[in-house]
Subunit: 431 residues, 2 copies
């Protein structure tokens, strides 16, 4: 038997001791996931995948973002794709992936179908997300750099485990579901910038559900296919460092350090926006702004003078100007052709410059503001800087309220914190 | 735009000139596929996947092996898995894969659903199988040796193209379906020897159907994700030799050289069984037999004295003894515990020896029979040796008649040669 698989399976099938931090962050991620999923339900990619699944008909086993219900595999495909459509969901930087969009669709669909209570759903979700992060660390940065979309590859294993935990898998079944997923997990970064990126998240969720249902039905795969000479890591350019990936498993929840996005644009812009927020920049007082950022981002999100909403989402100068002018960068609708054409924005943007800075990490940005009064306040922000739980809750709930309305955001939060049945939460996906 | 993808897409979307050989071999592969699929419909892996899909319900868009009907994606998953359950389907040695089990489920499900005539189905199937072989050659032996199951990986691209051809895709749509499939194609050889192997075939068929339906519905992927620095070949240890893989495309049908299995056991044993057939060996006259085979097979299918049906399928000594004793090696049921326990078989088996021989290729075997009368006839057989179309037809039809009865085998053959609607053929999957 293979060590990494067996360790993950033992963790995933056994009793777990969760931390308060892990439980609250999981609930915040669920609220965040529902909010961004509902906000993305009308995107073209969402419609394409929904049409495919609704066209198949079948048992209404679990609810879909955008309304309706479908069999479990189809539900996972839709909900994974839809919730990643806006690329506004959570990110785990150590694992280089988006855990919620791959794991939550699987965990929630199974929990609704099996009529489980929310506490069970949240625990299965947390265990699945932790497994996806551990598999991501095990595959390592090489796997990602080679071209694999870890959200999809590591995510499939997490989704499989989450689904298996809802189905009360024992260690042996957990080993099997990991081994079976190894022959199905897939997803290329080559799809970035197209509908293929959110689809990759849906694929992961759906692959996990399919593998779990098959194993529950008696399917006998090679349970050791994640590891070994011809296993998933070896074939997919993974480094397979088990010691590092298993460190603290069961005692420490790496998922706790997941990041939530508070701006509906490229993650490379967020540290700068947070620094601007720290400086409380407002247009009338701005003479000039200088943004310092990690050199990597210069080719990713430094469009100088975009004219479209999509372009704005990849432009330091545009988003900083938007924030200074009072546009709400948390709302996807703020990024538009109209915003790009705003004369005030164009004028301010021309006074903003962006510089590569080797001294900053990828999660840091430094802002220098030259005020009209000659003052020159500065701020550095690091997305990995700890945030109090209470600040995080305020901001996630605030974001959700903006996206789906305060009433629904509060109702979902209340359900998550006070308990209830998974199916009641699932009904909130419709919007 | 990428050259290989564009060339394949232009071929797949354009008018094609088929050869008589290619048309007849395609029809024979369809007959063979239906026969082995029906024969495998009750295998445990077939039941597991059928239960999953039938449990989802939904529109009865296409027929399943074993009876019933399901939506297209589910049908492809079931029919791909079921038809590979016995590992008795066709093989293409240049491509190192089983074309029919990945491509035919996709082509037939779409053709039935779209109510196409059989000529259209057969052409889509042939084009899809040719594309899978070309993609297989393009990925190369490195891809297979690294651990990827080409039946599944190359097969997914062939299935996608076959489905797209039924849907009358233009070149641009064919490019898109190839690019989208690149983010979903998967399958590891690590699953060999388990239910995961046939499942890989089902995954390929289903992935192709899903990609084609999404592209038909307006999905916009990166159409170039098969190639390039981060494309499928680069990430999956493919050699990506476009010149070799495209040679003769549209003029020469590599699919013509597909091999059919005439014995329900490991392909490594077939050349020896054919050589025994050439010598017309019958037990009473046998003093000794020596089998010479390529060294590779010694670790694959040289079990000395197996006691189970599965063991018998990987044993030179057992299958040669079975044939000499009049057991029908074409029938899966002939390989059993009872056969292994037959005293006549055990006695004869002890007079058979197997030797590795570097001078033989992987598709060759040499048999030396020492008769009781002292004569010593010898025969060499090569599975790649050309077979007349008429011999091939006799043997495939004979195999099908044994597996599903002469009446159904003849009815299917007649349909394939004289025309009709795809849905009528599809109904024959039920058995």
């Amino acid at each position: 038997m293979t060590e990494f698989t067996t360790s993950l399976a033992a963790f995933a099938a056994g009793p777990v001791t969760t931390s308060q931090q892990a439980r609250i962050v999981t609930s915040l991620s669920v609220l965040d996931w529902i909010a961004v999923g509902r906000a993305g339900a009308d995107e073209p990619v969402s419609q394409a995948v929904r049409d495919l699944i609704l066209g198949e008909g079948g048992a209404e086993q679990a609810h879909l973002f955008g309304g309706g219900a479908a069999p479990l595999r189809g539900t996972a495909l839709v909900n994974g794709t839809v919730s990643h459509a806006l690329d506004y969901d959570d990110t785990h930087f150590a694992h280089i992936g988006h855990p919620s969009v791959a794991i939550l669709p699987a965990a929630l669909a199974l929990s609704e179908w099996d009529d489980r209570i929310l506490v069970d759903f949240l625990e299965a979700a947390l265990v699945g997300m932790e497994v996806s992060i551990r598999v991501g660390l095990w595959l390592g940065r090489d796997h990602y750099q080679a071209g694999f979309h870890q959200t999809a590859t590591s995510g499939a294993f997490g989704a499989a485990v989450a689904a298996g935990r809802v189905l009360k898998f024992d260690v042996d079944q957990m080993r099997k579901v990991l081994g079976l997923t190894a022959t199905r997990a897939a997803g290329l970064k080559a799809q970035f910038g197209t509908m293929g990126k959110p689809y990759n998240a849906g694929l992961a969720a759906s692959a996990g559900v399919e593998a779990a249902l098959l194993v529950a039905g008696g399917f006998e795969p090679n349970a050791d296919a994640l590891e070994g000479q011809y296993g998933f890591a070896a074939t997919h350019k993974g480094i397979a460092d088990s010691a590092a990936a298993l460190e603290g498993l069961g005692e420490e929840w790496l998922f706790e350090s997941v990041s939530h996005k508070f701006h509906a644009c490229c993650h490379g812009l967020h540290a700068a926006l947070e620094a601007a927020r720290d400086l409380d920049i407002a247009e009338p007082e701005v003479a000039e702004i200088t943004v310092n950022t990690h050199p990597r981002w210069m080719s990713v999100c430094n469009q100088m003078s975009p004219t479209t909403g999509l372009g704005a989402k990849f432009s330091y100068r545009t988003v900083i100007a938007m924030q200074a002018l009072g546009y709400d960068t948390a709302l996807p609708g703020s990024y538009s052709e109209k915003t790009c054409a705003d004369p005030r924005l164009k004028s301010l943007r021309d006074r903003i410059s962006v510089e590569a800075d080797e001294t900053l990490s990828e999660t840091q940005a430094h802002l220098t503001l030259l005020r009209r009064d000659g003052a020159r306040p500065e701020a550095t922000h690091d997305l990995l800087a700890p945030m109090t739980l209470s600040d995080r809750e305020d901001r996630v709930r605030g974001k959700a309220a903006k996206l789906i309305g305060a009433e629904d955001a509060d109702a979902i939060w209340s359900m998550l914190r006070t308990g209830g049945r998974a199916r009641d939460l699932s009904k909130m996906l419709a919007g």
